[in-house]
Symmetry: D2
Subunit: 284 residues, 4 copies
Amino acid sequence: MKATATMFVTGPDQRGLVARVANFIFENNGNIVHSDHHIDTESKLFLTRVEWELDGFRIPRQEIGSKFAPIAEAMQMSWELHFSEERGRVAIFVSRYEHCLYDLLMRHAAGELHGNVALVVSNHPDLQPLAEHFRVPFHVFPITAATKKEQEGKELALLEEHRIDLIVLARYLQVFTPEFVARYPNRMINIHDSFLPAFVGAGPYRQAHERGVKLIGATSHYVTDQLDDGPIIEQDVMRVSHRDTVEDLKRKGRDLERVVLARAVRLHLEHRVLAYGRKTAVFD
Amino acid sequence: MKATATMFVTGPDQRGLVARVANFIFENNGNIVHSDHHIDTESKLFLTRVEWELDGFRIPRQEIGSKFAPIAEAMQMSWELHFSEERGRVAIFVSRYEHCLYDLLMRHAAGELHGNVALVVSNHPDLQPLAEHFRVPFHVFPITAATKKEQEGKELALLEEHRIDLIVLARYLQVFTPEFVARYPNRMINIHDSFLPAFVGAGPYRQAHERGVKLIGATSHYVTDQLDDGPIIEQDVMRVSHRDTVEDLKRKGRDLERVVLARAVRLHLEHRVLAYGRKTAVFD
Amino acid sequence: MKATATMFVTGPDQRGLVARVANFIFENNGNIVHSDHHIDTESKLFLTRVEWELDGFRIPRQEIGSKFAPIAEAMQMSWELHFSEERGRVAIFVSRYEHCLYDLLMRHAAGELHGNVALVVSNHPDLQPLAEHFRVPFHVFPITAATKKEQEGKELALLEEHRIDLIVLARYLQVFTPEFVARYPNRMINIHDSFLPAFVGAGPYRQAHERGVKLIGATSHYVTDQLDDGPIIEQDVMRVSHRDTVEDLKRKGRDLERVVLARAVRLHLEHRVLAYGRKTAVFD
Amino acid sequence: MKATATMFVTGPDQRGLVARVANFIFENNGNIVHSDHHIDTESKLFLTRVEWELDGFRIPRQEIGSKFAPIAEAMQMSWELHFSEERGRVAIFVSRYEHCLYDLLMRHAAGELHGNVALVVSNHPDLQPLAEHFRVPFHVFPITAATKKEQEGKELALLEEHRIDLIVLARYLQVFTPEFVARYPNRMINIHDSFLPAFVGAGPYRQAHERGVKLIGATSHYVTDQLDDGPIIEQDVMRVSHRDTVEDLKRKGRDLERVVLARAVRLHLEHRVLAYGRKTAVFD
C-alpha cells in the first residue's frame, strides 16, 4: 500500500473544477489512483473525492493545503485533506450492550479499520474486562441528570488529551448535550436500532414488533442536535416474521447493528464519507 | 396438483388444538399435506394453517364447515375454509401508473396467480388499452370530492355483481370512504411506495430523498380506515445512493412496488395470509 | 436533461491520465458532470468514465473523436465515445418464455431504457402478439441444426439493415455460432438463470433444487464463445427453502431474471459498463 | 421459557401421520407450541417438526422415546427426540483465522446459542488467548500428513470424553479422514467461503475475483466425505464491484462467514435443521 493523499472538494458547480483539481495534482507529479466526481443536480453542488499517490509528489505534505487554498478560494470551494499514513484516533462510547464494542475491537485487532482505537468510554463499569482483553484503556464516567454537564466536561478533556478525531457511539444510551455535540460535527457516529426514519427514539424493536413489520433495520448516522436525525451513512435490513418475538428481533437486530456501525466507521476512517446538508455522499 | 382444502384456525391457546384439527381430518380420511401451527406468546393466540387432500375425504365439500363448526365452537376457535379449486375473483383498481397493473396481468396470464382477474377499475381511462391487451374488462369511474360517494356506490354494485373476493389497489391514488373499506375487511390489498411506517402519505420518494436514506422500500398491506396503517403483508427494500435523484428513486421503486404487491396478492390468493389484530401471519 | 458526451478511457496506468482527459474537456469549455476513475491494481490498468455537458463545448460532436485520438495514442489509451442524444438501437431475441420480453418492452414503453427497441427476433412465432401490443416489429427465424448457419445469416442481414447496436437475449434458447458472436463483441447481453459460475448450462433450477441451495440467482453477462462464461454485468439472488419445488424455483427465478437482465440492459445503454478482459467495470 | 420436547419425524408419506403424532402428544396431556409438517412431493417423504410443553405431560422424559417407538415403527417413521433443557455440547475447530471463533464465543457468552461450547480444538496454538478470554479450554493438535490419523484418534478421544454433540469447523483448514467424518454424521458443520456449488475447494475469493462476480457468498453445510458437498444449511451473499480487490473480498467475506456459520449453528442447536438425502429442511 503506497502512501496517498485524499481530498474532498465541494462547492457550487462550475466549469473546470475537475480539471483544476486534476491539474493541481498532475502538475506536481502526483498519480491519481481514484477520482470520483458527482454533481448534485438539485442543490447545484459538486462533490469530489480524489486520491493520489504521494510518492514523487513535489509538494511536501505540510504545504499541500496552503498551495491548494488559493485555487479553492478562487472557485469558492470547501476542501478537506487527509493522508493515508495518518490513522484517525477513535474513542468508542458504550453503555452495557457489548456486541458492537466486541465487533469494533475485533475488527480493530484484525486490522480492518484504518484507525486507532485510543480509548473506550462508558457510563457503566461492566465492559471493562472486554476492553482490557483488547488492551484498550477503559474510562468510566457515570452519568445522572445532575452530573451530565460536569461529566461531559471531563470526557471532553479526556478526548482532547488523546487528540480524538472520531467518536463512535457503540450503543451508548445517553443523550449528549448540544454543547458536546457541537464539538464533534460530523465526527460522531451513532448506531440506531431501526431503519430510520421509522421508529425514532426508545424501544424501536418493540415498536417494530407492534407494527408487524416484515423487515427490521439499523441505521448509522452522524450525531446532530436532533435525536436520530443526523446525516445517514449506512443502513441495512433483515427479514423477520410473525414467529419472531421482540427478543428475536433484538437478537437479529444485534447482527445488523454490528455490521452497519462497522461499515460506517470504516468508511469514515477511509475518508469515504462526505456530509453535506442533511445527507452524506459515500464514495465506496 | 390434487384438490385440497385449506383451513385457518385461530383462538385462545389451549391443549389439544392441533390434535383436534388433525383428528377431524384424519378420521374423515383426509391426508394433510401442509400443517403449520404457531402460538403468539404475547397475545396467547394460536394460529394454524392446515391443508389436506380432498381425494378420499369422506365429508363432501359443502358440509365440511358445518361438521367442523361444533368442534371450533367448543374451543372458541375462529376458522376459515378454502378450496384449491375455488380461485379467488380479483378486481384491480388503478389510476395512471401502469407498472403494477402490467405486472399483475402478466403474472395472471402466465398462471402465477391462483385467482381470476375479473375486472380492472380506474378513475381514469388511460390504461384501458393495457387491460384490453390482456382481455380483462375495464371500467372507468371518475372521482371528485363531490362524486366520490356516489361513484363508490356504483363500484360496489359492480364488485358484487362480479362476486369479487379480493380488491388489489395497484397504485390507485384515491382514498376510499370508511364505508367502502368496511365492506372488504382484510380483502383489500394496497401497495405503498415506502418502507412503512417510514414516509406515510404522499410523496414518499421525495421524503426519502430529502432524508438521505440509503435504502428505499415498498410495503403491501391490507387497507383499513387509517391511512397506510393496515396489517403489513410484505415489504422489501433496495439500495440507493447520493447519486440517485428523486426520479431514480421512483424508477427503482417501481421495481419494488411490482414485486412486493405481486407477492402479497399471490400469498393472499393461496390462502397463506392470516390477519390478526394489526399484524399478519404469513405461512409461506 | 442536457445533452452530454460520455467517454470510456482505458490503458496502462501512468501519471497524468485524469488530468489529460479533464483538461481536454475543460480547455474546450466542457463541464464535467460525472467522472469516475479507477485503477485495477492487479492488471495495472486504469479505467475511466467521464461525462460532460455538450452545451458550450467548442468541438463539434463529429470532431471530438479525431481531436482526442492523438492524446489517447500518446498515452496508449483505448477509448469509446458516446452521445446521450444517440439512443442505442436494440434487437431482442426471445424463444417462448415471455417474462423478460414483457419486462423489457414495458420498461421501453415507460421510457426507462435509454434506447430504442427496433425489433424482436424469435425462433418461434408464439410471442408475436406480445410484440405487436407494444408495436415492435417481430421476425421469426425457425432454427434447426441444419438451418442454423443460414438463418443466422439472415438475422445478421436484418440486424445490419436496422443498424442494431445491442442484442439482448431475453431467454433465447438457441446457442449462436462463434461467427455470429464475433460480430457483436460486448454488445450481446444474455440472461442466465443461475448464479454463475454455479449451474452452468441447461436446467439450472433443477440443478439448484437437487443441490439443495438456500438461494437461487440470475446472471446477466456479455456473450462470448464459451457458454455462460462471458463478462458478468449484474447478478442477484433470492431466498428459497426446502418447501420450494422446482416449479417454485422457476417462478421465483423469473422475477430475478427480469430485473437482472433489465438492469444490465439499462446500464449498457447508459454507457455505464466497461468490459475488460473477463470482467466488467460498472460505473453506476 | 417453559421446558419443551422437540421431535423430528420423517418417513414415507401416508394418511394420518400428523394426527398420530398430535394425538400421541395430546392424549398424554402435552401442549403443542409449534408444529410444522411438510411433504416433499418429489421424494414422497414427509418431514415433521413438533415441539410441545413438558409441563403436565404424563410420560416422563426418559420414557417418551420407548412409548413413541411402536407408533413410529407401525408407520415406518424415523424420529429424533430432543429436550430444550439439554443444551448441546459443542466443540469448535479452528486454525488461524479468528473471526468465526470470536463470533461464536461472543454469541455463546451473550446467551444467543442454545448450547455449551465445551472446548476449542486447533492445529495451531495461535488462538489460545482468544479462547482463554472466553474461559473455554483450548487444545492443540498439530497436523501433518504423517500424523493426521494419529492426531484424529486423540481428537476423537477428547470429543468422546467431553460427550460432544456438535463439531463446528470455524475456518478449520484441515480435511478430515472419512473415518473421522463417519463418526459425526450431520453433526459436523463447516463454513465454506463461497456460494456453493460455485468455487469449490481452495481460494474461493481469488476464484471469485478472477471470474468477476458481482456478489460473493458463504455457505454452511454438514460435512460429508465429499469436499464442500454436504447438505447445505444456510447461505448468504454480499454485493461486490470491480473496485474490490481480492483482499476486499476476503474482508467482506469474513462478515458473511461469521453470520452464515452462526445462523447454522444456532438453527442446529435449536433442533430446527433436519437433513434428508443431500438436503436440509430448516424449520425457522
